[in-house]
């Protein structure tokens, strides 16, 4: 075990504290133009006429629309599934119908406003319940309103419900939440001949390049994507948003073009979690869950039919980490005129955990059992299979849940009147199914880890990978540096998402180190294990073969070629497998297996204002299964940050659309994320000993901490005042209504 002191401290802290790092919003280039998108004036309909002439008449303005694409792009762009500019069909509010660039920011805004569009309106599908006021029947399958339909059944569900002692039915609703990375999307593009280059604030340079190639009809080799420092990602910066338009404008103008969203646009155009309706039915017999029916209507916005991943991925989370002998799950991904559903830190899993925990808590109360004991008794254990038939490996949730219950007992004993305590569990799967590579350069006085992505904030790139390398190589942290390169130079990696960075690239570091050791063992003639060390400034290579100790400076072992390249260079790869489910259960659609289960149980204590319904979270403790702790301060920071974000999902955050499809609160004063004074003291306890698929048995930690939060808080509210929340967020208004104060 490496002492924490050797890995503590972020290498990017000083530069960030002097304002010296550059984010996407800081991008600038001599001679650049400022770009702006022209939004569709309505969320649905057809653009009958687009008039760019007034914009083009403004000094220095370049304006492009659908008619310009043929001259700017190779014909293959036409095979992309969604047109770059909405024309015959507007799919969502603020979808781009044209784009402009001008010499200044103000001129670009003015040019965008000078574009005239006439739209033949069509009815707006603002939400899923307006299109399916009852539940979707068989006729919904194949309907243009449905982007995905998934259905799975295990056992004789009807019999389980028929023979039940008690059946409990509830309906839950969850809101749309936005990532609210403080840095809005921004990029800078240039096109030189057939070389298309974009610098952008992205979580996934290679994924962005792949998508851009499809959207623009270009070969990937013609495109370079280079990341900037990312001012928060949370899933919102994983796929191209502005990049295709910036590249088109650069191509049309012959100049570098900067394109950045203002914050209202960020809310309107961002791809994020959308609202859902969930029906839960649970049959109980002899105090045990005997059957469940779970039905999901997920708003997937303008997702393309057949291209919705969220419904099939999420629905397993609605079964929860609980034994369920027979069940039926059915989900519809319903298209609306909102932007397409996109990932938001553990996409939709906090909402699922809220529904599952709240419902099973309610079921236990209805049948007269202790709600926490009831849930604890049903938790998956290692060696069992999930309801969808996936084997459960080392999984710390049951242990975490017991710890959480013990904490809750102590808090309840001390809680003043008006306070309540809630306990909730949740599970997640580290995204080790998305593989990747990194290049390790062992130089005479340092180790450089070359990767394709940039640091997004969690520290997983600049500090997490370094911490793994410290342990794997046995060299001190100050000798190890992570360097982010663009797609033209970097080895492929999937990107910073899915809590995968340290888990996957950490294994790639292990693979690279093993190769390095074998290369150097041969050069030393050691034939045995090789270790690394430091002597003054120099990295040494050491071995203890039978013939006696060998200790040589690395510099003496390099070939002439390696001296030219600055060291021994090896590429480490890790391509793990995704999980699989029991496909015999599936009646329709695509379900996704999870890869590497991780769990958490959280305890919240809240105080509810009996006059207003306002909730204050008083204290909070998380018990978090991490497999193995790699970087303790960074791990704690992930949990604290995830809990605060979840607190927003629980209590205040809700993007609200009008019936005609307009987002009503596209700003930080109306869409409220937690402020300093609203986040309670947070204690974090890590559970080791349930190893995962990452290096040394580590599990991903970026997403899991947010998952139990809305459930823990909602259950605490129920205990405090009796208001059983079936909608997120648990706003003061909703609680006040439940308490009949309104």
């Amino acid at each position: 075990m490496t002492p924490a002191s050797e890995t503590a401290g972020r290498p990017d802290a000083r530069a960030k504290l002097h304002g010296a790092v550059r984010y996407g919003t800081d991008l600038e280039s001599p001679g650049m133009l400022w770009g702006a998108l022209v939004p569709a004036p309505r969320p649905s309909g057809a653009v009958r006429r687009l008039d760019l002439s007034a914009a083009r008449a403004l000094p220095g303005v370049v304006a492009i629309g659908p008619d310009d694409l043929d001259r700017l792009l190779p014909p293959a762009y036409r095979s992309a599934e969604r047109p770059l500019f909405a024309a015959a069909s507007i799919d969502y509010g603020f979808q781009p119908i044209a784009a402009v660039a001008a010499p200044t920011r103000a001129a670009a805004r003015a040019a965008a406003e000078a574009v005239r569009a006439t739209v033949d309106p069509a009815p707006v599908v603002a939400d899923v319940e307006s299109i399916f006021p009852d539940w979707p029947g068989p006729e919904a399958v194949g309907s243009p309103h449905v982007a995905a339909h998934v259905h799975a059944v295990r056992g004789d569900v009807d019999a389980a419900f028929r023979d039940a002692d008690r059946v409990v039915r509830e309906t839950y609703r969850t809101a749309s939440v936005h990532q609210v990375a403080l840095e809005p999307h921004a990029c800078l593009a240039r096109v030189d001949g057939d070389r298309w280059t974009v610098r952008t604030s992205t979580q996934s340079p290679f994924g962005t390049r792949e998508d851009l190639a499809t959207m623009l009809g270009l070969p990937e080799s013609a495109i370079e994507v280079a990341g900037t420092w990312v001012g928060g990602g949370f899933g919102g910066k994983g796929a191209p948003l502005l990049e295709p338009y910036a590249l088109l404008l650069a191509r049309a103008s012959g100049r570098p073009v900067r394109l950045a969203l203002d914050y209202a646009e960020e809310f309107r155009l961002g791809r994020t979690t959308l609202p859902a309706v969930v029906r839960m039915e649970t049959a109980v017999r002899d105090g045990t869950i005997s059957g469940r029916r779970v039905r999901l209507l997920l708003d997937v916005g303008a997702a393309l039919p057949g291209r919705d991943f969220a419904t099939g991925y999420s629905i397993g989370f609605l079964l929860g980490p609980y034994r369920t002998p027979t069940f039926e799950v059915e989900g519809f991904g319903v298209r609306t005129h909102k932007p397409p559903f996109g990932p938001h830190r553990a996409p939709f899993a906090p909402q699922c955990a809220f529904v599952v925990e709240s419902h099973l808590d309610h079921v236990a109360r209805e049948v007269g059992l202790d709600p926490e004991a009831f849930r604890a008794a049903h938790l998956w254990r290692e060696g069992e299979a999930t309801p969808l038939g996936q084997p459960v490996g080392p999984f710390g949730l049951a242990a975490a849940f017991e710890r959480a219950r013990a904490t809750a007992r102590a808090w309840r004993a001390a809680a003043p009147p008006g306070h309540g305590v809630g306990v909730a569990g949740g599970f997640w799967s580290t995204g080790t199914g998305a593989g990747g590579e990194l290049r390790l350069r062992l130089a005479p006085s340092e180790v450089v880890l070359e990767v394709g992505e940039r640091e997004i904030g969690s520290g997983s790139v600049v500090a997490g990978l370094r911490a793994v390398a410290v342990r794997v190589l046995g060299l001190p942290a100050d000798r190890i540096r992570v360097e982010s390169l663009g797609t033209a130079e970097a080895p492929f990696d999937s990107g910073v998402f899915g809590s995968r960075t340290v888990a996957v690239l950490g294994r790639a570091i292990e693979a690279a180190a093993a190769e390095l050791r074998s290369i150097l063992a041969a050069r030393l003639g050691a034939g045995g294990p090789v270790e690394f060390g430091i002597d003054g400034e120099r990295i040494h290579v050491r071995a203890d073969p039978a013939g006696g100790r060998i200790d040589r400076p690395l510099a003496d072992l390099l070939t002439p070629d390696e001296r030219g390249e600055g060291g021994v260079v090896v590429v480490g790869k890790h391509y793990g497998r995704g999980g699989t489910i029991d496909e015999s259960l599936v009646r329709a659609g695509t379900f996704y297996g999870y890869t590497d289960f991780t769990g958490a149980a959280h305890v919240a204590e809240v105080a509810v204002d009996r006059a207003t319904g306002a909730v204050r979270v008083v204290r909070y403790t998380a018990f978090q299964d991490v497999g193995t702790l790699v970087d303790p301060p960074a791990a704690r920071a992930q949990v604290e940050g995830g809990i605060a974000m979840g607190l927003g999902t629980a209590l205040t955050e809700e993007a609200i659309w009008s019936d005609d499809g307009r987002l009503l609160n596209p700003g930080l004063l109306d869409y409220r994320i937690p402020t300093f004074g609203e986040v309670p003291p947070i204690e974090v306890e890590f559970l080791e000993g349930f190893p995962g698929a990452g290096p040394f048995g580590a599990k991903g930690l970026g997403e899991p901490p947010i998952i139990p939060v809305p459930a823990a808080i909602a259950l605490a509210v129920r205990e405090a005042c009796g208001a059983h929340a079936t909608e997120l967020p648990v706003t003061a208004e909703r609680t006040a209504r439940a308490l009949k104060l309104l």
Binding site: R14, E28, D262, Y263, A637, A644, G677, P681
Partner: protein, 158 residues
């Protein structure tokens, strides 16, 4: 107010511009005229605090401040160097507590705390510090490590 020249003293250095429109925001003057991009643009509507600077020592949202309003005054930003030992002290506390992640909100927090500590010095209470940061949003840290940095600054008050 019409456009025209302005002169600011930014981090101790005289800065001038001749043709600043009346509507130009201090945020844009700093970032795009003076290339001081450490001051961040977040919401541009006063809701996030990322653009906080000090004007004559007072914590100010540069996105809601017209450059001409502060003509002739002293501005301090996250790029401040040795002329602001208080800011250096705040930075050291942030490093020690790991009170940053993506770093986008960090300049606003550091500048706002610096302003308070320069005004109140040793007397600044925890509540005053939290009050001074109430308008600064952070999405990464959950404020926990920033809170620990605040405690450290209190414990180390000179």
């Amino acid at each position: 107010m019409t456009g025209g020249p302005i002169a600011l003293r930014v981090n101790g250095v005289e800065r001038r511009a001749s043709d600043v429109p009346a509507s130009e925001r201090l945020l844009d003057t700093l970032r795009w005229r003076f290339d001081l991009k450490g001051t961040k643009e977040g919401c541009r509507t006063g809701g996030c605090g990322a653009c906080t600077v000090l004007v004559d020592g007072e914590s100010t949202l540069s996105c809601l401040t017209l450059t001409h309003e502060v003509d002739g005054r002293a501005v301090a930003t996250i790029e401040a160097g040795g002329e602001s030992p208080t800011m250096e002290r705040v930075r050291a506390a942030f490093v020690a507590e790991g009170a940053l992640q993506c770093g986008y909100c960090t300049p606003g927090f550091v500048v706002a705390l610096t302003g308070l500590l320069e005004e109140r010095g040793r007397a600044a209470s925890r509540d005053e510090m939290l009050e001074a940061l109430a308008g600064n949003l952070c999405r990464c840290t959950g404020y926990a490590a920033i809170g620990r940095a605040v405690e450290r600054l209190r414990a180390e008050a000179p």
